[in-house]
Symmetry: C2
Subunit: 201 residues, 2 copies
């Protein structure tokens, strides 16, 4: 017998997503279960099936929410440092910091996700993974300004994205030991590569 003011929960769908994200960020994906989220929302174990076809569909909704949050963090960085010469370095830092602040998000977004990421520079920009499009847009603008050879543009964007992505991956693995502070070291890592359009932080 579930106790609640009214039989109907009204905002259950959104609450499932919120509580679900909370559970993943605190306890990780491994111990995540539909029944736990349902219990955390005070409903029966099968209630989620009124709003999601199955577990994966809830996970997908959670991933979309986190992706939007991530995208906003990147955009805020551009807003703050857009005119600075080292925007791109700041953007990379923001990328890594977002996942360092929420270590469980990384593998959740990038190894469990069904959210599509199009690295092919196709025209359907509006529907693509927003964080990548944000990164791409800024990087291309800077390359233009630095008169970087146009035929190398696509490769440069993907190389940079991979680089930052790789740092975030290592920085959020709990079985990796690194005595330095990832966040403070990012500018040093970027400094290893002499890109004309890449300023140090």
């Amino acid at each position: 017998m579930i106790e609640r003011e009214s039989y109907h929960h009204k905002n259950l769908k959104n609450q499932l997503i919120d509580k679900g994200i909370e559970l993943v960020s605190t306890e990780g994906l491994k111990s995540f279960s539909l029944r736990k989220v349902a219990a955390a929302c005070g409903v029966s174990h099968a209630a989620p099936y009124s709003h999601f076809q199955n577990k994966d569909e809830l996970l997908n909704a959670m991933q979309c929410h986190i992706t939007a949050e991530f995208s906003k963090a990147l955009e805020d960085t551009i807003t703050a440092y857009g005119d600075s010469a080292d925007v791109l370095a700041h953007l990379g830092k923001a990328y890594v910091v977002f996942f360092i602040d929420n270590p469980h998000y990384f593998s959740f977004l990038y190894t469990q996700s069904t959210v599509q990421i199009d690295l092919s520079f196709s025209d359907d920009v509006g529907h693509n993974y927003a964080p990548f499009e944000t990164f791409k847009g800024l990087a291309l603008a800077l390359m233009e300004k630095a008169a970087y050879p146009k035929e190398k543009n696509k490769d440069a964007v993907i190389a940079l994205w991979s680089f930052i992505h790789g740092i975030a991956s290592l920085a959020t693995m709990k079985n990796v030991r690194y005595d330095e502070n990832w966040e403070e070291k990012i500018s040093d890592f970027i400094g290893v590569f002499n890109c004309p359009f890449l300023s140090a932080i």
Copy 2:
């Protein structure tokens, strides 16, 4: 009733590891279960508990086996191209190719693993994640040869490792669309960064 020549299976432990790896590489980690591996080996569902304390311990053994295989792939590359000016580029290529050939291995090794990776350049080299030590050793030697500033050595190794690691990560995500051939593009990606010790492939 399980049918087998003899009651004792003898080599069950190793067979569990091998069949387990086979299952992970074909069907992925998500659908992997102890009971399936046991069945695949023709033993009862609790038989693995004679050789492993729990599921995680079997997974760990599987990860160690794959890591050794990965390490060998890297070492073979050094053996083959050790005297060439672009060894490091070849090594990066081998890194990525290993995981492209076995896409399930990447997240299995890097987001589920308990295998420790020490990026801190501590002295206990013998017990560290062998693939990283192999990479590190070669990179440091090349930097020495190229008279790369010593104080930047550690940062350069980690930056490069992150970069290659990031490419492998993106290349093995099934929800990433990329119309080019990752393997063939790696030299182009490396070319984006002008490192004195990094030759193009």
